[in-house]
């Protein structure tokens, strides 16, 4: 047993302090207001405090810490993207992820599993080769492998997928990992609070005051705050916040659903993704299968679940892993994914001075959490976009310089 646990048995009182700000009144003004206490918002707060010495920061959250997409995603972390901008950005994220548990003194269960993106068609094989080549160019460990390699890694997989979609190859990305999603938000939240940041839960932003093209304040359900800098990190609620400042973005919201099985003994070490079968799957440390599929095919600002999601996903799961027939699905849920036309995020400055966007994450915001916090903190502190995010600016839509990341989507959306 690790020594760290001894103190729990040897102390009569639980020897742990509060992790997050105890509820207090809002101050009249803050240097920076961050909307959204998910992983992204809290990471930005953490790096603002740690790396830029900006600690007079309020993170406002209408619900609770990590209650949005941070707590709803399927926790896959990878950097096998398609565009140079994407690969460099997510690679920087993976580098940060690897040290995060030790940085936080909090076990995030960051578990490197190896990530397969299966190709069932010759066009998918071409895309995997493209991604592998771009990845290798930037030093990211990805390679195009054949079906035999897949079979060796997971002998129980039905390589023909029940005859429906034979696996022709795969992009294998050894650094692919999973992590305990909630703990990421808690770690960043604690780290930020320790450095003086305030987290206000159950505090909804109802308006943002803009004067002369500059942010001057924020209206909340608990009163007014004066501030010149607002960072919006609210994923599926982005359109509601951008409406408050009158900014148009091409972000649109689709539900993204997931489900989890009852726990079972470990049999699946890797992460598998199939574009043709629209599934992704990993097995958590608790032994649950965490499963996801493609976006719901219509725009909807809701986190309702549907039956046909579980039906389609289960059918495809059994095509690939028929022996899971007796495994039971415990729970399903849904999040709101903020999609962009080119599948790359929208980050950085906006036409409103002092209003910064961290949005457009679609289906892959979780894996970007550390690098996003770090680069957005830099951007907010210096009022200038960090070099890693220049490809993700809002004005790229106006300038027709899109960052086409659709080919790196795990499943067809």
């Amino acid at each position: 047993m690790p020594w760290r646990l001894l103190r729990f048995g040897l102390s009569s009182k639980h020897p742990e302090p509060r992790m997050f700000t105890a509820p207090t009144e809002l101050r009249a003004s803050y240097d920076v207001v961050i909307i959204g206490a998910g992983g992204h918002g809290l990471a930005a707060a953490y790096y603002l405090a740690r790396e830029h010495g900006i600690t007079n920061v309020a993170v406002l959250e209408k619900g609770y810490i990590g209650g949005g997409n941070t707590g709803r995603n399927t926790t896959i972390i990878r950097s096998n993207y398609l565009t140079p901008e994407g690969v460099k950005f997510y690679d920087a994220s993976v580098q940060l992820w690897q040290d995060l548990s030790e940085d936080f003194d909090l076990n995030l269960f960051y578990s490197t599993r190896g990530h397969f993106t299966l190709a069932h068609t010759d066009s998918a094989v071409r895309t995997m080769r493209w991604r592998a080549e771009v990845n290798k160019h930037y030093g990211v460990d990805s390679e195009l492998v054949g079906p035999d390699f897949v079979k060796r890694a997971c002998p129980s997989i039905d390589i023909s997928c029940n005859g429906h979609a034979p696996i022709l190859g795969a992009l294998y990305h050894a650094p692919g990992s999973i992590a305990r999603h909630d703990a990421v938000a808690w770690g960043y939240g604690r780290g930020a609070c320790q450095r003086g940041v305030e987290i206000h839960q159950q505090t909804a932003v109802t308006g943002i005051e803009v004067k002369g093209g500059k942010v001057v304040g924020v209206q909340t359900s608990r009163g007014h705050i004066a501030t010149n800098k607002v960072l919006c990190a609210v994923a599926g609620s982005t359109p509601r916040v951008t409406d408050m400042v009158g900014i148009k973005t091409p972000i649109y919201i689709h539900p993204l659903q997931a489900m989890v099985s009852e726990p079972m003994k470990p049999w699946l070490d890797h992460i598998f993704v199939s574009g043709s079968l629209h599934i992704y799957i990993s097995q958590s440390a608790r032994g649950e299968l965490v499963m996801g599929a493609s976006l719901d095919p219509y725009e909807l600002h809701s986190t309702r679940s549907t039956l046909d999601f579980t039906e389609g996903l289960s059918a495809h799961m059994l095509d690939m892993f028929p022996f899971l027939s007796n495994v039971k699905v415990n729970r399903q849920w849904s999040g709101m994914a903020d999609m962009t036309p080119d599948f790359a995020p929208v980050m950085g400055k906006t036409p409103v001075e002092g209003f910064y966007l961290d949005s457009g994450w679609g289906t892959w915001g979780f894996k970007a959490t550390p690098v996003c916090g770090k680069t957005m903190a830099w951007t907010v502190a210096k009022d200038s976009p960090h070099e890693l995010i220049t490809g993700f600016s809002l004005d790229r839509f106006r300038n027709y310089s899109l960052t086409g990341e659709k080919g790196a989507a795990s499943v067809g959306h």
Binding site: P2, R4, L5, F8, G9, H14, R18, M19, G63, Y64, G66, G67, Q98, S101, D105, N107, F109, T112, H120, T121, S123, W130, A132, E133, L144, H164, A165, D182, Q201, P263, M264, K265, P266, W267, R286, G287, R304, S305, T306, L307, T310, E311, G312, S314, A315, L318, D319, P322, F323, L324, S325, N326, K328, V329, N330, R331, W333, Y400, L402, G404
Partner: protein
């Protein structure tokens, strides 16, 4: 096996013995037994081990949330012993043990519990070096049952069903609701997850046999009612929008569409929280009653009841009737109400102790309960000076209930906490959803009947459109739930969540750490996240949190109740699966010719036709040569085929395609491309104008469904007067190509094929071999050619006629690979292979196909802007030197300039007609001049030199495919 005398409505069939094994020992039960009841009857008390501390556990609920009694049944894992019927020959093992239930090698974890506080795994084990080792250990220890990779793919039936009123729960309230809705004329389905309807009315008797008679009457009426169908052993697994409820039974999933739902799902009895409340022998009072009345099993010999409502006294009475010695009823309430149940218990000589709770339960070496310590308890604090020890082998917990409101939450019901009832009850119900019985806060038998009748009548009125006003049934009597069923103990082990081994102090510690709202508390402690999804733990956790933060349960609120109510097997959800495979009408012809098929979207298409004794590539090259020198035919029936008719058909297509479709003459065709709003190329095809108001056009194979969907969507906005008809499956089509194609088609076709009458890019309607056909002069592969479309059922006849007519000319089929090579020789791109998610027409030199001066088309605005901007890349032809023998680049290998990515190869083939490799690649615009050399990096990192060249590579003037002016 020891059983009580025959019970009047027992579920077991004493005439049928069932032999099974558990943990390597043989047992006998009866048909109708649950695994747990059969084992309990055989004297087995320790049925499983807990999730975290591996403590011995026995029966808790017998109600499908005993997740500490999960067993492995061969290939079936995590089988719930408390509800799954025992079957002959079962060989069962407890899931969560190392080395067997009795000698579980990790049971020492219980002794280390002080070092393993809530969330302990977050607080250690994270050094980069050691985490992988720890993780392996964690994964091995957690995880419950095992999968067997030899398990077959189980296909389960699905069916659709409909009803006016779906009643969920077949207890007294549900039966009453079903009857009143059915009497009003509604068609009713009554579902109950139990093997028999009747609910608590059949086992929570308190010695009242008249009650059972009443329930029997309801059951008989429901079974006999022409408007009621009763589904037993059927789980209503969730509630989805528009009254869409999956019903799960042993061998199928029924998707029920109801017009109204009545939730009569009852309530879950909640454990009392005291030290060692998890010992085998300590169980819910209702579990004891189920054992007695359903399975004729005596739960224990000497029982102490901890109570806080009348139900506890009814338990005592049922126990006494079953020959159990009830030592005492310890009631958490300060004063005992003078109700009949209490009086009856007193009359049987049982000590009834007000203001008293169990401070602690004690175990023997086996870990099973042998005694309890009772103390005076006030607000959860025991006065240990009043401690009194009673030896017993069973403890019944009857201190409160939580509503089984999961589906009500899923339906969007607003719930409110009723302080008097100490229960959440529906406050605002969604339209068409009704609640009755315990889930509605109504507990007494006659009240439940009235409440069910009320809800059923309202549901029927909702469905039948009749107006009805009925008064609510007010819950009467005492509160069924105690506000604080928790007795503190300095040594803990007072469990709140049995799935996750969570004790009271875990919640206190979590709140101390700042996890002080219900959602954070749930995620940090994992309360309610085990397989029972909080059925026996969420309510107590909420009470604890409310006390710790000084709020009411109403203010604390509940967590979201997500599907499913109980876990549902993937086989049921999957059903037979749906993987549409499409085959062309010519599939059999291809197979007979030796076709090797490849997937193309949902279609199977001939990749090539294998020639015996020849390699794949030689077979393909043979096909290519046949097209170039003789005549050959390819099945292009997988292309999307859409017809648009109507006065505004031209206007519609003009808005969708970038070309001037309105200027196309009747009898002509035009190549068309479409873009999205950002100007990105989305699809291509040939558009034919058959008449003024009739267009017929093709799309790519993979794009067919999307194009049709998008066009339908667009016209739902534009509302132009035209109809869009997807004829993809209705037509079969082939492309007949090659220098001799006119000679083949001429004799069997009634159209004039002379170039004057049927010029390049014309469309004609006529008959081929007597079959009505649409024919287009096309040149995709670079030869004289006709694309012939006929009704799908005539496809094979057309194919046979062409093959027969072509025999003298050496006709043969060609497949997709040959076509890809032939089109590459002509420099034609394939959308999605030679384009990507950002490619606009100017990048692929299709400026000629984009008419920016039209009034409007999708993507026009973007293309006008892009036209003014410098190109970032351009698709260009390239070749490798003749005789090149090094590594051949593959599609998507990168073009490298000065060490940076500058482009990529999109297509590459060796051309048998040209004798060298040809390809298309995206390049920087300043590198696309013919003759420019560039470098391609192949997989192993080495560089290959290539040279830009003009396209078409073959027959650059297109002399072969069209008549010369």
């Amino acid at each position: 096996m020891s059983r009580l005398p025959q019970r009047p409505d027992e579920w077991i069939d004493r005439s049928r013995q069932v032999r099974f094994r558990f943990e390597g020992r043989d047992y006998v039960g009866f048909a109708g037994d649950a695994v747990s009841s059969a084992l309990w009857a055989s004297g087995v008390r320790t049925l499983g081990r807990s999730f975290k501390y591996h403590r011995p556990r026995g029966i808790l609920s017998m109600a499908n949330h005993d997740v500490n009694v999960l067993v492995q049944d061969g290939q079936r894992l995590n089988v719930r012993g408390d509800v799954v019927p025992v079957r002959e020959g079962m060989d069962l093992t407890a899931v969560n043990t190392w080395g067997g239930l009795a000698k579980d090698r990790v049971r020492f974890l219980d002794r280390l519990s002080a070092f393993l506080p809530v969330g302990f795994y977050y607080k250690a084990f994270y050094s980069k070096r050691w985490f992988p080792t720890w993780e392996r250990m964690f994964r091995a220890i957690t995880g419950l049952g095992r999968i067997d990779a030899a398990t077959p793919h189980i296909y389960t039936h699905k069916r659709y069903d409909f009803c006016d009123v779906l009643v969920i729960g077949g207890g007294v309230a549900g039966l009453s609701a079903a009857l009143s809705a059915a009497d009003a004329g509604a068609s009713v389905v009554l579902v109950d997850e139990n093997a028999r309807v009747g609910g608590s009315g059949m086992y929570q008797l308190g010695g009242d046999t008249a009650q059972r008679e009443a329930v029997r009457g309801l059951i008989a009426r429901a079974r006999g009612h022409k408007n009621i169908r009763v589904f037993e052993s059927t789980l209503a697994a969730a509630w989805y929008a528009d009254q869409w409820v999956p019903l799960v039974d042993a061998d199928k999933l029924t998707k029920m569409r109801a017009r109204a739902t009545v939730m009569a799902s009852g309530a879950f009895e909640q454990p009392t929280v005291f030290r060692n409340n998890d010992l085998p022998g300590v169980m819910l009072g209702s579990a004891m009653q189920r054992l007695i009345h359903r399975y004729a099993v005596q739960p224990a010999r000497r029982v102490v009841v901890t109570a806080a409502n009348a139900d506890g006294y009814r338990v005592a009475l049922d126990l006494i009737d079953a020959g159990v010695q009830v030592l005492a009823v310890a009631d958490l309430r300060d004063t005992l109400p003078s109700c009949p149940a209490v009086e009856k218990v007193r009359a049987r000589g049982v000590e009834c102790l007000p203001g008293t709770g169990i401070y602690e339960a004690h175990a023997d070496g086996s870990g099973e309960v042998t005694a309890v310590t009772l103390c005076k308890v006030r607000e959860g604090v025991a006065d240990t000076s009043t401690a009194r020890r009673l030896d017993c082998d069973g403890v019944a917990m009857s201190t409160g209930w939580a509503p089984a409101a999961n589906l009500l939450y899923q339906a969007g019901t607003k719930m409110r906490f009723d302080e008097r009832l100490q229960q959440f009850v529906p406050d605002v119900l969604p339209e068409g959803v009704f609640a009755c019985g315990r889930v509605n806060g109504v507990f007494a038998l006659d009240s439940k009947q009235a409440d069910g009748a009320r809800a059923g009548a309202l549901a029927a009125a909702h469905v039948l459109g009749t107006a009805l006003e009925v008064d609510p049934v007010l819950p009467g009597g005492e509160a069924p739930s105690h506000p604080w069923p928790v007795v503190k103990h300095p040594s803990g082990k007072n469990f709140v969540d049995f799935d996750e081994d969570l004790q009271v102090k875990d919640f206190e510690n979590a709140v101390q750490e700042g996890y002080d709202n219900i959602e954070l508390l749930k995620r940090f402690t994992t309360v309610g996240m085990g397989p029972s999804q909080g059925k026996h733990s969420n309510m107590t956790a909420l009470r604890i949190l409310a006390r710790l933060v000084g709020k009411s349960p109403q203010q604390v609120g509940t967590t979201t109740a997500r599907p499913f109510f109980h876990p549902v097997p993937m086989s049921h959800l999957a059903g037979r699966g749906f993987n549409p495979h499409r085959r062309s009408p010519l599939h059999g012809r291809h197979a007979a010719l030796g076709a090797v098929f490849m997937p193309a979207g949902a279609w199977e298409r001939p990749e090539y036709y294998a020639v015996p004794s020849k390699s794949r590539i030689d077979s393909i090259h043979d096909e290519v040569r046949r097209v170039r020198t003789k005549v050959a035919v390819i099945d292009v029936g997988t292309l999307g085929k859409i017809e648009i008719r109507g006065p505004q058909a031209a206007e519609f297509l003009n808005r969708v395609y970038t070309a001037r479709i309105d200027l196309l003459k009747v009898g002509g065709t035009r190549y068309g491309i479409s873009c999205d709003e950002t100007g990105v190329l989305t699809d291509e095809g040939v558009i034919a104008r058959l008449a003024d108001n009739v267009y017929y056009f093709t799309t790519t194979t993979s794009g067919a469904a999307l194009v049709y969907r998008e066009m339908s969507r667009l016209n739902s906005e534009w509302r132009l007067e035209c109809g869009i008809i997807n004829l993809t499956g209705a037509y079969s089509s082939v492309n007949l190509a090659g220098p001799d194609c006119r000679k083949v088609l001429g004799p069997i076709c009634d159209a004039d094929l002379s170039p004057e009458a049927f010029p390049y890019l014309a469309v004609r309607e006529g008959k081929v071999a007597g079959i009505p056909a649409r024919m287009m002069r096309v040149g995709f592969v670079g030869e004289w050619g006709y694309e012939i479309h006929v009704p799908a059922e005539y496809g094979p006849a057309l194919w046979d006629a062409l093959m027969q007519a072509g025999e003298p000319y050496g006709i043969g089929p060609f497949g997709v690979e040959a076509q890809r090579l032939l089109r590459l020789e002509k420099g034609h791109l394939i959308v999605s292979q030679d384009t990507d998610g950002l490619t606009h027409p100017f990048e692929v030199s299709m400026d000629w196909a984009v008419k920016l001066d039209k009034p409007f088309f999708v993507g026009q605005r973007s293309l006008k802007i892009l036209k003014q901007m410098p190109l970032k890349r351009k698709l260009a032809g390239f070749k490798l030197p003749a005789g090149y023998s090094g590594q051949v680049p593959q599609e998507c290998h990168l073009v490298i300039v000065n060490g940076e990515i500058a482009g990529r190869v999109t297509s590459i083939y060796w051309s048998p007609n040209l004798g060298h490799h040809i390809g298309l690649a995206f390049l920087p615009p300043d590198m696309t001049a013919p003759g420019t050399a560039f470098q391609i990096r192949v997989t192993d990192g080495s560089m290959v030199s290539a040279e830009v060249c003009e396209t078409p590579f073959f027959d650059p003037q297109d002399l072969r495919q069209k008549e010369q002016a």
